[in-house]
Assembly symmetry: none
Homo-oligomer: 255 residues x 2
DNA sequence: AGGAATTTGTGCGTATGTATC
DNA sequence: AGATACATACGCACAAATTCC
């Protein structure tokens, strides 16, 4: 650390040693694939175009593409192109033995774990909001909007708002619903959630939040936006969850 | 099948289409190793000599050698040479082949994806804070504290503070660090992160946050607390990340 | 059917960076 | 410090497979 003769000032930002170009390119493409910028089976731009758009030589682009092919992310066919490989391991129906009911419920108490449960605030059949992306294959113009208060071991930790397609049921009453919603989808509506994507933001507690929820409406809190797909690959559910992070946290474990 | 004008005669012997040169070279070397022409640990001739003796370009020789290295037959060390590997196969995850460098970096731009990079704000060797759980097996009472500004495609999206055990290095300078920290752990410190756990809360931007970070100190934002373990199961790293959720989000995908 | 255009595969040569000895 | 050897990167030429007209 150089000793500056100048008066102490804002910390100097030093660039770290960058990764090799071909690795950065591979990383960029891999993250684009994970983010869904490319559909499964879609063809990438040819090497020559990628070379121009990514500002690297064809050879370097080739090295990045070859790396991703060796990882199984891409498939390269001579004379044809480079294609994005789908996730071809879509598991068969979830036996209750094989998978946890609340496997996709990512909230935990500070102490870890906790048993999820829910109280129903509101159930309403509504026209699909335009803001939400294409839903359930677009079969029905309607969807159900569900509002719930969620608990972990009797303590209210979140409120949530869920939309799911109405094509599976013409009518739906509160009594029909199961506390474990994904289990309800599977046993009553005939599809099951096999994939979900959560985006976490800072949001504000909605005004319909009940008094039981310790965080007052308008308060800043952690907001989870979720999209959930059935095994067929169609988007089945969209939801927002507002979490009281004094009591529980979103937990993600990676390996 | 061309019709010959000559009288029918013995079937014409046509040379089969040869394999690509780099494959034939790999085969040649692999068979040489199997036949015991080379001892385990022995150094091969340098690329330039192989290029001459095998009558192929350096690039082609390189491709063959890289193939054999990926198969575990050879080990290539920059500045040293290419060595024949024995039967014992204690290979680290072979950074480039196995997984994404930034596999555990869960931030994405609103549009999805983006290439991660980092600027270094500060690096300091400190006593382990009591608040942090047992660290690196408790071998050293010290750890390094690293502060960085993180980017996705040139836009600053987060600041982070990272602690990792000092037992791997007595001294550490800024220049030693790699931009991809987990990659640095693997290549320089001799362990690799195989598991991580993130807890998401609402926090406030720390006061040491540089001006480049668009969110002012004290502002409410999404805070990520991470613990990361090495393959041996020891906690190696603890970090906090404060995200400007107007620009990027924590994204988790489940299946 | 055939031929042109496109796209990846193979191979060559070179220059420069970086680690090792 | 200098030489050696592998790593990265660029650019080009041609071959082979595919696609399209």
């Amino acid at each position: 650390m150089p000793i500056s003769s100048q008066p102490s000032m804002a910390p100097q930002l030093t660039p770290a040693k960058p990764l090799p170009l071909f690795l950065r390119l591979a990383e960029l493409l891999a993250r684009g694939i994970a983010a869904g910028h490319y559909q499964a089976g879609e063809r990438l731009a040819p090497e020559s175009e990628l070379s121009l758009s990514l500002n690297a030589s064809v050879g370097t682009v080739r090295k990045a593409l070859a790396l991703l092919e060796s990882r199984g992310l891409l498939e390269r066919k001579q004379g044809s192109g480079t294609y994005v490989r789908g996730r071809e391991q879509d598991s068969p129906p979830s036996q209750t033995a094989s998978r946890n009911i609340y496997e996709f419920f990512r909230l935990e108490l500070e102490s870890g774990g906790g048993l999820p449960s829910a109280l129903l605030i509101d159930l309403k059949k509504v026209r699909k909001p335009a803001a939400v992306p294409t839903f359930g294959g677009g079969a029905s113009p309607f969807c159900y909007r569900l509002r719930r208060l969620r608990f972990l071991n009797e303590t209210p930790v979140a409120v949530e708002e869920i939309w799911f397609d109405a094509r599976h049921r013409e009518h739906l009453r509160i009594e029909d619903l199961d506390e474990a919603l994904y289990h309800f989808y599977e046993t009553e509506l005939g599809f099951w959630i096999s994939r979900a994507e959560d985006r976490l933001k800072v949001g504000r507690v909605p005004d319909w939040s009940p008094a039981q929820f310790q965080l007052a409406p308008g308060q800043a809190c952690c907001k989870i936006e979720r999209k959930a797909w059935s095994s067929g690959g169609t988007l089945e559910e969209f939801s927002n969850t507002w979490v009281d992070t004094r009591l529980a946290h979103y937990v993600a474990r990676w390996s």
